[in-house]
C-alpha cells in the first residue's frame, strides 16, 4: 500500500495531469475537425466552435502556472527553448483568436440561424482562410515542441497512473 507520500507534499490546487491530458486530446481532435470544414460541413464547423472555445480557454487556464512562470519579468534568463515557446505560443494564441473571430464574421450558418447577418466581407473571409490554414502548421510545430511533455504524460490517461 502506498502511504505517506501525499501528506509530505500537499497537492497544490491544480488540475491533475490526467485531466489535462484528456483535455488536450479533446482539443486536438476538436481542432482537426474544425480545420476541415470541407469534410464536416459548414454547420458543424460553426456550431462545434462553440464547444471548442471553452476547451481552448481551459487549455491555457489549466496550465496557468506555466504562463506565470514563463512571463515573469524578473526572470529573463530562460533557455532558448523556453523563450522560443513563449514567443511562439503568443503567435499561436493570436492566430486562434483571429481565426475564431473572423469565422464568426463570415458565418454562413450559426449567426444566420439566429437571425443575424454578419455582413461578411472579403477582408474577413481572406483573414479566416489564411489564419485557418497557417494555424495548421503552427499547431503541428506547437505539438512537436511539447512532445517531451506528451510522451511523459500520455500514459496517465489511465486512472491508476494519475498520481503526481
Amino acid at each position: 500500500m502506498t502511504t505517506a507520500a501525499p501528506a509530505l507534499r500537499p497537492r497544490p490546487k491544480k488540475a491533475s495531469i490526467r485531466t489535462r491530458v484528456w483535455l488536450d486530446i479533446a482539443l486536438f481532435v476538436g481542432y482537426v475537425l474544425l480545420s476541415a470544414p470541407q469534410s464536416t460541413g459548414i454547420a458543424f464547423h460553426e456550431y462545434f466552435t462553440v464547444v471548442f472555445i471553452p476547451i481552448f480557454i481551459s487549455h491555457i487556464v489549466l496550465d496557468w502556472a506555466w504562463v506565470k512562470r514563463v512571463f515573469r519579468k524578473s526572470d529573463n534568463k530562460r533557455s532558448g527553448e523556453v523563450r522560443f515557446n513563449r514567443a511562439f505560443d503568443i503567435v499561436l494564441f493570436v492566430g486562434m483568436v483571429v481565426v475564431i473571430y473572423s469565422g464568426f464574421l463570415v458565418s454562413e450558418s450559426i449567426l444566420p440561424d439566429f437571425g443575424i447577418d454578419p455582413g461578411a466581407t472579403t477582408f474577413w473571409s481572406n483573414v479566416h482562410d489564411a489564419s485557418g490554414n497557417l494555424l495548421i502548421l503552427l499547431v503541428g510545430i506547437h505539438i512537436a515542441m511539447h512532445m517531451p511533455w506528451i510522451k511523459r504524460n500520455l500514459g496517465r490517461i489511465r486512472p491508476n497512473r494519475s498520481a503526481i
Binding site: 470544414p37 470541407q38 464536416t40 483568436v97 473571430y101 473572423s102 455582413g119 461578411a120 466581407t121 499547431v139
Partner: protein
C-alpha cells in the same frame, strides 16, 4: 463547474482581455483594408472526407521537421 470558474476567474479574465486586444487590433486593420461585401455564400460543396487527411498531414509534416531539428540540436 461554478467553483472551477470562480477559482480560475482571473486567468480566464486575462485570456478574454488578451483576446479583446487581439480583436481590437484586427478591427483597426479592417478599417484600413480595402474590402468588399462577400455576396451570398455558396453553401456546402459535396462533403469530402479527404479534408481530414489533408489536415493531419499538414500537422504531421511540420511536427516531424520540428522533432528532427530538436533531435539534432540535442545531439550537439
Amino acid at each position: 463547474m461554478n467553483a472551477w470558474l470562480g477559482r480560475n476567474a482571473s486567468p480566464i479574465a486575462i485570456v478574454l482581455l488578451a483576446s479583446a486586444v487581439v480583436i481590437g487590433a484586427w478591427e483597426v486593420l479592417d478599417a484600413f483594408a480595402t474590402s468588399e461585401p462577400l455576396g451570398t455564400p455558396e453553401g456546402d460543396a459535396p462533403l469530402n472526407p479527404g479534408g481530414l487527411i489533408k489536415v493531419t498531414l499538414f500537422l504531421l509534416v511540420p511536427s516531424l521537421i520540428t522533432l528532427a531539428i530538436r533531435r539534432r540540436q540535442r545531439s550537439h
